[in-house]
């Protein structure tokens, strides 16, 4: 089971309290009905599914119930950092990431 740090509660809590909510930073169009089929497919169905660093959403379902984002390595399942919803995608990952990502 994963240990996940909720950036709102500022605490590491067991995975059972959380729900994964898929890939992060996929913006929904303000005019979804006006999207072309291609763009809708990209938004709705296509996923990056990376082997390595993923940016993903989690929801602290049985805690504060808020959505937040996380950066995780999908090979080791280790979390590199979590940050609040609405914050931009981190351009630089914390130092610890090098050690975590090293295989």
């Amino acid at each position: 089971m994963l240990l996940i740090r909720c950036p709102y509660c500022e605490e590491e809590r067991p995975e059972l309290e959380f729900r994964n909510a898929g890939e992060a930073h996929i913006a929904r169009s303000a005019n979804i009905a006006g999207e072309s089929d291609d763009d809708f497919e990209k938004f709705f169905f296509i996923r990056s599914n990376p082997k390595g660093i993923i940016h993903e959403r989690w929801r602290h379902m049985h805690g504060c119930a808020r959505f937040f984002n996380a950066v995780r390595d999908t090979v080791t399942d280790k979390f590199i950092m979590t940050y609040k919803a609405g914050e931009p995608k981190p351009s630089k990952l914390p130092e610890i990431s090098n050690e975590v990502v090293a295989k």
Binding site: M1, E15, K51, D77
Partner: protein, 417 residues
């Protein structure tokens, strides 16, 4: 290839078993092949086998980053059934089921296909409605499926708890008698032996690291850990890693990869005569010929390539098993493991041509690909050989996620995802 038979066993017994030959050869890769298959699991090896036997294409290499059959082919719970809801799914899964019948003879290799019956339990009104809908839809498609009362279910599977006091009592069941199990490793080995005997090169410990494309966009071959290997046709059959390989060719896929776990108990005498599944309490179980209970769990909730999953997922499944079969509460579990399954948004596979000329993909089987192995290989070989899908796999395109023509089988899976 020397044929296996009772006479071969007698002959070898007389001379100390010195005459058995290797089941498949391990040649050095050539510079170029007509077709490269990426991934030597059941589906990839079956594809190579049918390319050779049905289409006469034998200049084929199957590249495998690990060892043959070491991915999900060796990690699944070996269940075979075709009781899917929609016509398209019924078509492809029943095509496979018809090939399972007789596969041991075709391959001259005992895949131990056992049509012991797959029984899916209903615990509430919704389950009854869903399963009866499946029974009717299946029968319209010529697929056997029948409705059982709780008493009939217990008669078919005596250890089942049908007490009305159960927390989720059994109120009925759907039974596909032609469903069952097969020996998963033997399926990979049998196809590998048959393909190798016809000239297919199976190259293990050879990981694909890139897909080379010509200036006009068409496939030229693949970069591997053993150098560049050329081919004008490349078929990607890489299960959980399919999207990784497709990204190398510049194609983004509607796939996400999740860990899926299974476990086996200590071996005991025959006690579970069939396969039992329950979507509602979320577990499925059968018994191997070695006597182990083979139990399948659900997927973890996050994308991962770790080939491991959370212990709480297994615990949840075992809770459900003990609910259905109270006699197993003191059974010891021996081993558990995880595989990485590639899941599509509509839970149906993709077997198709891709936007890249010469590149074909067979992926998205999610949590239930083993059962389809022979049918999948058969129609995918057709797709590669003719550069045109077989009518059976024609609906399973990548483009369906743009056109909206989905094959929405989410509710038909063995366990809810």
């Amino acid at each position: 290839m020397k044929k296996y038979s009772v006479f071969a066993i007698a002959r070898e017994a007389m001379r100390g078993h010195k005459g058995w030959e290797e089941q498949w050869s391990s040649p050095e890769p050539k510079k170029e092949y007509d077709v490269i298959i990426v991934g030597a699991g059941g589906h990839g090896l079956a594809t190579a086998y049918y390319l050779a036997t049905v289409h006469g294409i034998t200049n084929v290499a199957v590249l495998e980053k690990g060892w043959l059959g070491g991915g999900n082919t060796g990690r699944n719970t070996t269940i075979i059934r075709s009781n899917y809801l929609y016509d398209e799914s019924a078509g492809i899964y029943d095509h496979a089921l018809k090939l399972w019948d007789g596969l041991s003879q075709e391959l001259n290799y005992n895949v131990m296909y056992s049509a012991r019956g797959v029984m899916m339990l209903a615990h509430n009104v919704h389950d009854i409605q869903v399963l009866k809908r499946h029974v009717h839809a299946n029968r319209l498609n010529g697929i056997d499926n029948e409705w059982l009362s709780p008493e009939q279910a217990k008669e078919f599977c005596p250890p089942l708890n049908i007490s009305k006091d159960a927390r989720y009592p059994v109120v009925g069941a759907a039974l596909q008698r032609r469903g069952g199990t097969a020996r998963h490793d033997a399926v990979a080995w049998g196809y590998a032996r048959g393909a190798s005997a016809r000239g297919v090169h199976i190259i293990q410990n050879c990981e694909v690291t890139g897909v080379k494309r010509a200036p006009n966009g068409a496939v030229m071959g693949v970069d591997t850990t053993r150098g560049f290997i050329g081919a004008k046709k490349v078929g990607v059959v890489a299960a959980g890693h399919s999207s990784v390989i497709m990204n190398m060719a510049g194609v983004r896929m509607p796939l996400e990869s999740y860990p899926l776990q299974a476990l086996v108990s200590e071996p005991v005498k025959p006690v579970v005569p069939c396969v039992v599944m329950s979507n509602t309490v979320h577990a499925y179980i059968s018994q191997s010929d070695k006597g182990e209970l083979v139990i399948g769990a659900g997927t973890d909730q996050y994308v991962s390539y770790s080939q491991t999953g959370g212990l709480h997922i297994l615990q949840h499944t075992l809770d459900a098993i003990c609910e259905m079969f109270p006699i197993f509460t003191r059974m010891k579990m021996l081993r558990s493991w995880g595989g990485i399954v590639d899941v599509t948004p509509d839970r149906s596979p993709i077997l198709a041509k891709t936007p890249v000329p010469g590149l074909y993909v067979n992926c998205g089987w999610g949590t239930g690909g083993f059962k389809a192995t022979p049918g999948s290989g058969h129609v995918f070989a057709h797709t590669i050989a003719k550069d045109d899908p077989h009518p059976i796999n024609a609906p399973f395109t990548i483009e369906r996620f743009r056109t909206g023509r989905l094959i929405d089988e989410a509710a038909a899976a063995a366990v809810a995802h």
